[in-house]
Subunit: 257 residues, 2 copies
């Protein structure tokens, strides 16, 4: 099951707000190439282009389905396939923007150090990562995987991502004489039409590795069991809607001019 641009786009407004919030904290760019790392279907790339119209912007993603959607959306821009764990950042870059991608790479602090070294004076590394592993959405993926019906498929495998390091870790590792670092969390409370919309949301991201690990015949059963738990964990408000609590971590590291 590849990344699904269509599934991902279902909650595009909600997913784009963090990218806008991150971009709002990026200072004006120096000259040099700019990169949208893990650009997905190009929604964040479009925002960066609107904020910095003259920039030499390239979108990088590892998934062809996403790249294809991005090229359709922004036909004049360059999109390249790349694996961020191995990607070599060009020296003298103005911007590395990474919205919701580095949480998949456990050793990302080391990658951030490398990216910062490739920044031009005045350049910025701007990162947003979901920090939601302790939310019911994600704890219940694990709980469902431990049920007798599904446990054999997961035996000996770790699907759960590693938790993010503490904010202090990023500040300590990335700050230097010429690099200032700002870190914050934002917890969004998305109003979704019902609990099933939460299931649809995570089907586009965090639930995928669990479904991938199961034999095709077990996927519907796992989804039904998970959805039942989600309905209990996210009770309806008076208007029938549910609130999806969603914490995200932001990091903005800027090299002095």
């Amino acid at each position: 099951m590849a990344w699904s641009a269509a599934q991902y786009a279902k909650f595009e407004d909600e997913r784009t707000r963090p990218a806008r919030d991150l971009l709002a904290q990026v200072p004006d760019l120096p000259a040099g190439p700019a990169f949208d790392l893990g650009c997905g279907p190009g929604n964040s790339t479009e925002l960066i282009l609107a904020r910095f119209p003259g920039s030499l912007l390239t979108g990088i993603d590892s998934d062809e389905d996403m790249l294809s959607a991005a090229r359709t959306r922004l036909p004049d821009l360059r999109f390249e396939r790349g694996d961020l764990a191995a990607w070599t950042p060009p020296a003298g870059s103005a911007l590395f923007f990474a919205n919701a991608v580095f949480q998949w790479l456990p050793e990302h602090v080391t990658l951030f150090e490398r990216l910062i070294l490739a920044l031009a004076p005045g350049g910025t590394l701007a990162v947003q990562m979901p920090d939601n592993l302790d939310e019911p959405t994600h704890l219940l993926m694990e709980e469902t995987a431990e049920e007798p019906a599904f446990a054999p498929a997961f035996a000996g495998r770790t699907i759960r991502r590693r938790s993010l390091p503490s904010p202090a870790t990023y500040v300590e590792r990335l700050t230097s004489k010429e690099v200032r670092v700002d870190v914050w969390h934002t917890v969004y409370y998305h109003q979704l039409v019902n609990a099933n919309a939460i299931v649809e949301w995570v089907k586009g991201t965090g639930l995928r590795p669990y479904l991938d690990a199961l034999p095709t015949t077990q996927r519907a059963g796992y989804l039904a069991a998970y959805a039942e738990k989600i309905r209990k964990a996210y009770p309806a408000m008076k208007n029938g809607r549910v609130l999806l609590r969603f914490p995200r971590l932001f990091i903005v590291a800027t090299r002095d001019r």
Copy 2:
């Protein structure tokens, strides 16, 4: 001890960021008067004016020291003394902006309902409140007050503010057919030069009611005991600085056009 505009201004950059973040989520204003409720020394008022230069903006605050600082800062603007618990919002208003003030009024949800009723179509109520009562900064104010040396001065008095209602409470109480509500938390991690800077920070706000409750002769002792606890709760990072974790709640309620 009145509110001290000078003490408050010591951390103006850090205190202004939440106001900027709140303002970034306010949509363009319709015609009508705009108000900066609890305007303090006018830093948030200045931001609102920069974003909406033509607006009929008035700053409201209950403290003369703050109003005086605001008038010096923005001599062309109108600043009025007002008590928000009793203040009558003019009908047809374009904006009620309230940065870090309504946490002092426990019945603020009712006040928000009244403010929303006074909004012009397309108008916005935008609120930010510290939500930090469970942080060490505030728990240690209570712990120090309970020490034998200080407990008699606090006997029978409750200094601690009431905790904020849940995000769902604001969504449920304020949403209606013509009013959309967005709620989020942002947790800032302020990098301060040392633990004593944290004490200086809260001296301008949350610590004041505790110091006010003590006889003058006990204030230095209370401050020293509190500062000692803060030093243990906020250990220095490698560069000697400390991280002050500071959660804040944001609410933006907009009436349909």
